[in-house]
């Protein structure tokens, strides 16, 4: 058993952490949010060229570091610490994950582009009626034509490619008959309505109308098991992001509790505040443990159950730590002025992303507790 990072992983973490501390402070981030594009292309270029983090989970043959899920975890936690807007999750973890899984010519063509920062991928799987169910797909691919509507596709507005699930056969919620496609984001017949999300990234409603899709664009037919695996990997990466977000929420709140004085003493002197901070601390520690556990089980038979356990625990932690961080800050916690409120927003959205606590508890039940 080993929970330590290798030397390379430690270096990856430290260089990213240093870069973000120097360039991605709260004010710079908020400036990007106010500009309303949902990301900063210059940061992405720096990720590719200066830091080289976009190559972390790819094989050396593709120009990568030869890493995998642990590298994604390392990177995502640091991105969470700075509530980074840029699309590492959708491009590197999800898009890159899909390409690594299918391999072949398309992977050879596009992975170097991801590493160079030129290829950016948005994940268009969830549908308006589908809630968190990846099998609930009414978008269709028939006779080479794609039609349908995908909901809240994060970073579609800055993507070069869309990773799309579409039904080639069966009924709307069948688990078979779902294909996974990778198509150019500017293909004829694709329209978008772009908007900002509550934590400052951009997202879109994406509509397909008779989009021509050739065989070369089909990554996998009957792809639901693959899609679930990709989303499990993404969910664990999201849990790692959450760990970064929650650690900062806890640290800032602890700091504030030591400084803020009421009734002639620091509010951290009140036992109720102390115990609350201890409970938050315990939630963060368990979130970290579960994220590591699930990351290390991604290649095992227990993958799905482990990921759902982790996400259920992290989702609860996100709610508890986020809400109490605001509570202990008092009035200043609910303003736009302090970073803590923005970390709280990100923590809150993570709760439902890739499935709520309830969704993952029932998935865990279905996988392991058959009566």
């Amino acid at each position: 058993m080993d929970f330590n990072y290798t030397e390379e992983q430690t270096m990856l973490r430290d260089s990213l952490s240093r870069y973000l501390a120097n360039t991605y402070d709260f004010d710079s981030r908020q400036k990007v949010v106010r500009e309303g594009k949902g990301w900063n292309p210059a940061v992405w270029t720096a990720f590719a060229e200066e830091l080289g983090i976009l190559c972390a989970p790819f094989s050396e043959a593709h120009g990568g570091l030869g890493g995998g899920a642990v590298e994604n975890m390392v990177v995502m936690e640091e991105l969470g610490r700075a509530i980074v807007l840029e699309p590492y999750l959708s491009t590197v973890v999800i898009g890159g994950g899909a390409l690594k899984a299918v391999g072949g010519a398309i992977a050879d063509e596009l992975i170097p582009g991801i590493i160079a920062g030129n290829v950016r991928i948005a994940f268009a799987a969830y549908e308006p009626q589908g809630r968190f169910h990846l099998n609930d797909v009414s978008t269709t691919l028939k006779a080479g034509q794609l039609n349908g509507h995908k909901a809240v596709v994060e970073h579609a507005s800055n993507a070069t490619h869309l990773l799309v699930t579409a039904r080639t056969g069966g009924a709307q919620r069948d688990t078979s008959g779902i294909a996974l496609l990778l198509i150019p984001a500017d293909a004829a017949g694709i329209t978008r309505r772009d908007y900002l999300t509550v934590h400052g990234t951009s997202a879109s409603e994406v509509y397909f109308e008779n989009v021509a899709v050739g065989d070369a664009h089909v990554l996998a037919a009957d792809a639901l098991p693959l899609v679930e695996r990709i989303v499990d990997e993404a969910t664990v990466a999201l849990c790692a992001e959450a760990c970064g977000v929650l650690k900062v929420l806890h640290a800032q709140t602890l700091d504030y509790a030591k400084q803020r004085k009421q009734f002639g003493k620091a509010i951290g002197d009140f036992q109720v505040i102390q115990h609350r901070l201890v409970d938050m601390f315990m939630e963060v520690e368990q979130a970290v443990s579960m994220t590591m556990m699930a990351t290390l089980k991604l290649d095992s038979d227990e993958r799905a159950a482990a990921v759902s356990m982790a996400k259920a625990k992290v989702g609860k932690a996100a709610k508890f730590v986020g809400q109490n961080a605001v509570q202990i800050h008092g009035g200043i916690g609910i303003t736009q002025e302090l970073a803590v409120g923005h970390y709280f927003k990100r923590a809150t959205l993570i709760e439902n992303q890739f499935g709520s606590v309830d969704f993952h508890l029932s998935r865990y039940e279905n996988l392991t507790l058959a009566a």
Binding site: G36, Y126, P128, Q129, G130, R131, F132, H133, D136, A151, V152, E154, R173, R193, D194, Y195, L196, T197, V198, H199, A203, E205, K261, Q262, F263, G264, F270, V272, I273, K319, Q323, V326, Q327, G330, G331, G333, I334, T335, Q336, E337, G341, F344, K345, T348, L349, N352, Q353, S356, D358, L361, S362
Partner: protein
């Protein structure tokens, strides 16, 4: 003991329903449904209709403009206005400074201010909190020095900073706690002043909250001159008024009727939301959470009714009202959690309001619009009006004797 309404109460309820149906402005419903930001006149539209009808201040004594309703009738009134989604009335005049003035004010103060509170002519704000004095309100430092003016009259010169002042951007008048005797121990040297917000030396600056709202403000006071006749009650005895008002503020804060309405709304949304092959309300996890909320809400409701019965038997709102504040706000917050959860993926898009900005087109179901900002915004309820930690301290000390 009897849980049933009398025939007279039932008749009253019908009268209230008919009145709301006939008089509540339809455009106001539309504006709220669209999630549009409310202007001052929007808040006041319903206020003015109620004033005309004579129903604007059911809780006030009849001699000052109250309705003379029984506690049950007042309960029916709040139920029915919530059920019909009527816009919330601003509490600062009607529920806060109004009762202070008719309880502690001079005849001149009553004559000058009460009618204008009832008519909605004056919009009030509450200047209590300061950057260094939130939970520990009695440590407040805004200073009021007394002097005799060139006209021979007595004045205060006020200097200091207030913060979190809700809706001060609209306010005509504010009621302020200020320190008139810096040598006295904390609670002793405080006075309660009514200040015209147009007085020179007052600066109001917005604070933007997490959902993007402009709801609270900083209020700076620099050499603000206030006539002594605008002080309510004795000099250095303002804390008496402040405490009286805080207890009033806490009872209203339970919000039972509005929460009941919101439970219904969430059930309806969950019924219409698809979750796999079924509706979200058929999801056993979600359904259980709704059931638990309904149980807790009933417990709050019957606790409030017991408290009200005690009040109409002559006991003023006591420290028990802290219980209503804690449980009421926890329920309000849980409702926003459920609404956000019900929205699923569509909780993420950010809407300022329809008709402006990037997100001026509909994304996802109407019910999902603004659920996240509302969730963020409602975190305030366990912080303001005395935080829920402070309320627990009050119960520990005043009720349990710890």
């Amino acid at each position: 003991m009897d849980l049933n309404f009398s025939a007279a109460d039932v008749a009253f309820r019908e009268e209230v329903r008919a009145f709301i149906r006939d008089s509540y402005p339809a455009w106001l419903h539309e504006k709220i449904d669209e999630g549009e930001e409310m202007a001052k006149e929007d808040f006041l539209a319903w206020h003015k209709i109620l004033h005309q009808k004579g129903w604007i201040a059911p809780a006030w004594p009849v001699e000052y403009g109250g309705t003379g309703w029984t506690a049950t009738q007042r309960y029916i009134w709040s139920e029915e206005t919530a059920r019909a989604d009527c816009v919330r009335l601003m509490p600062f005049g009607l529920s806060m400074v109004g009762p202070v003035i008719y309880t502690f004010g001079t005849p001149e103060q009553k004559a000058k201010f009460l009618p204008r509170i009832l008519s909605g002519e004056d919009w009030w704000c509450q200047g209590y909190s300061e950057p260094g004095s939130g939970s520990d309100l009695a440590s407040l430092r805004t200073r009021a020095e007394r002097f005799t003016g060139e006209d021979g009259k007595e004045y205060y010169r006020v200097n200091g900073q207030k913060t979190w002042t809700t809706m001060a951007q609209h306010a005509d008048w504010g009621f302020f706690l200020v320190r008139t005797d810096p040598t006295a121990k904390m609670q002793e040297g405080i006075s309660f002043l009514l200040i015209d917000m147009k007085t020179p030396g007052i600066t109001v600056r917005p604070i933007i909250t997490l959902g993007g709202e402009h709801e609270v403000n900083e209020v700076w006071l620099e050499d603000v001159i206030v006539p002594v006749e605008n002080r309510v009650f004795h000099e250095n005895k303002g804390w008496t008024c402040a405490k009286f008002l805080l207890a009033h503020e806490r009872t209203g804060i339970a919000g039972v009727a509005a929460s009941k309405r919101n439970v219904e709304r969430i059930k309806q949304v969950a019924r219409q939301t698809q979750d796999g092959a079924d509706s979200l309300l058929a999801n056993p996890f979600f359904k259980r959470k709704v059931a638990e909320l309904e149980v807790d809400l009933a417990a709050l409701e019957y606790t409030e009714l017991r408290t009200l019965a005690g009040e109409s038997a002559g006991k003023g709102p006591g420290p028990e009202s802290s219980l209503l504040k804690i449980k009421g706000t926890e329920i309000q917050q849980r409702l926003t959690e459920l609404a956000l959860e019900a929205a699923g993926t569509y909780g993420a898009p950010y809407f300022r309001s329809m008709g402006e900005g990037d997100n001026s087109f509909a994304v996802g179901p109407d019910s999902a619009r603004r659920v996240a900002p509302v969730y963020f915004n409602m975190r305030k309820t366990s912080i303001y009006g005395g935080s829920n930690e402070i309320q627990r301290n009050i119960i520990a000390k005043m009720v349990l004797g710890l």
